[in-house]
Subunit: 402 residues, 2 copies
Amino acid sequence: MLNVLTPEEALRLMESQFQPRQFVTEDAQVGDVLAEDVIASECVPDFDRSTVDGYAVLAKDTFGCSEAIPAILPVVGAVQMGERPDFSLTPGTCAAIPTGGALPEGADCAVMVEYTEDYGDGTIGIMKSAAPGQNLIFRGDDVKPGDVLFHAGHRLTASDVGALAALGRLNVRVHSQPLVGVISTGDELVSPEQTPGPGQVRDVNLPMLLALLTQWGVKIRDFGRVPDDEPLLLERVRAASEQCDMVLISGGSSVGQKDAVCRVLESLGEVLMHGIAIKPGKPTILAKTGDGKPLVGLPGHPAAAYYIARLFVKPLLDRLRGEQHREQTVTAKLTESVNANHGRAQITACRLEQRDGETLAVPIRSKSGLITQLARADGFFVIPRDCEGLPQGAAVDVILNH
Amino acid sequence: MLNVLTPEEALRLMESQFQPRQFVTEDAQVGDVLAEDVIASECVPDFDRSTVDGYAVLAKDTFGCSEAIPAILPVVGAVQMGERPDFSLTPGTCAAIPTGGALPEGADCAVMVEYTEDYGDGTIGIMKSAAPGQNLIFRGDDVKPGDVLFHAGHRLTASDVGALAALGRLNVRVHSQPLVGVISTGDELVSPEQTPGPGQVRDVNLPMLLALLTQWGVKIRDFGRVPDDEPLLLERVRAASEQCDMVLISGGSSVGQKDAVCRVLESLGEVLMHGIAIKPGKPTILAKTGDGKPLVGLPGHPAAAYYIARLFVKPLLDRLRGEQHREQTVTAKLTESVNANHGRAQITACRLEQRDGETLAVPIRSKSGLITQLARADGFFVIPRDCEGLPQGAAVDVILNH
């Protein structure tokens, strides 16, 4: 077969053929990818603040004080939240201050209320000496103008949304999420709601791929199931490629179907890759339309479609939305040896177990099982194509199913 | 302060006071939590299938064959995808079969097309002997009726959605996602879009909490910001608690504000807890309305609000939606010692670094920094309250920011 690439070559091809989309929005949501660096233009905090409830004082007024001999200071004011104090401290005075309150001029530290006593006569006793700067966070302590908080390509977490809000930068430019169309093809497929007739199977790939894409935060469009009818498939894929930024076509399992998907992709654009040297997942096709959109033909077998989506579609999507793809893995120790075929990478499903403080990967020995790989596995690992197998006890990087 | 609980007591209190909601839907989506066990009622696959493209044969017809001496068999049919073969094999014959095709009666294995030659005269040469069962997956190999696939309380991943589709069980009963209302309170707060005046700060908690809840898959309702005005706050919290299944009120930072939130919660239900022995995050309040809904008062400091949401609000939400809460952590080695205060748990923000194949946790030494903890940390770890600190090199379980 022409154009069978290694997994590494396939990833490099995607990187070289597809560019981050230029569309950006200025309404950053969690999960969006930054289209620009975020550089602070102001100080956080923007004023000197107390980190405790208590009293703003001059540290030197408290030197040497104790529970036995408190420093007795008249209260000259109370700091209000959200206001700049309209008074200042002179030596030998203090002011009530809440956590987060702005430090009045003249004060240089705050004393926790727990170490004070209110005598009720307008004076406060300070029981513990304080050092200048104590219990304060100064203007710009956290961030100063010019500090780079995030680089373009960073995917926003909820805590990042908090940081952007603190800086007034929720309007940062982010890549708009691509719209991905999904089509399932194969004469043998019936809707998951239907009871399959003889020789038929329920269509797993369409709901599974839509669920995966939902989790990845992209926009989805369901183009349904198409029987093994080339003109019909061509029409459906063309419609999807016109409406969407990327199209996934899964199936078919038979030789004729595979050829049909390939011919359809050839007639709609340039086929860049026809097969990946990985098992399962070899019958994966990548094409590019005239206007630069990726069309991906995925294997019909659901477990294979799932693995290829995780290993190749996700990085491609991340490329389109400007994100630096990074797969999070769990390192685990193989409970038994696993054989592999030289010449192609091999995907092995596994369960994870915790035993004696170690994370163990238990390979799932099944034939082309669907459920065993989708429902009963915790994840999978990839044995590189130049490796003939892994011994018991070897460390593997497990990609968790999600 | 009355009713200050340890973190463990707080979690047990939530478990004992709140029950999974009874509302279920029958339209399972990725991220939903199962309200029932999923037990297979049929076989997967439902018929004997080939796992290769090639020819269905009787194994004994191939015994002893080789490239030099192929077994020559007449083709009596071609299996079509999605159909039960309308023919059967007699000894000494073969039939074309695609991957996933139903095995015709009489055949007991499949030979890959790569090991065959089509002579073009209606006969096929088989170059390699095959064993009975080879390249087949039999009816029920993957799942048999009665097999338990998932237990109630399991949260559905995309691969699980695939498994449910394979079984025709996308209509499984799942807990409906709770609707959570969020209110932010404090005189010092301005909208993140505004430039704060003297003593004011941007409201970080409202957008951050909404982003967290979005990531957790629950439904959200934004009840906005309320100044430090008790009647107004009461009215807003009452409206939210009537409309939602759970309400989060963040702030205020000052003593007066804290008291106001507490009084409001007292007047709307029973205050179950007033403070957690954890730093930061002590001023956390948990109340229960007459109709059993949780109302949570979160600290005003955004980093503290974030930690409390991760450590306590998430388990509470999982309880409401029937999920077994499980926090995924990354084990890392401390690059330096960290002191802690005996008597309360301590949260420490950290960055993660990979060095010499090890994951290292670099504690972030900052005062009450916002950005340093939200944007510059990769996560945080908790030092238990009975521990006075951790030495350099100690292993910590880091909860990743998200």
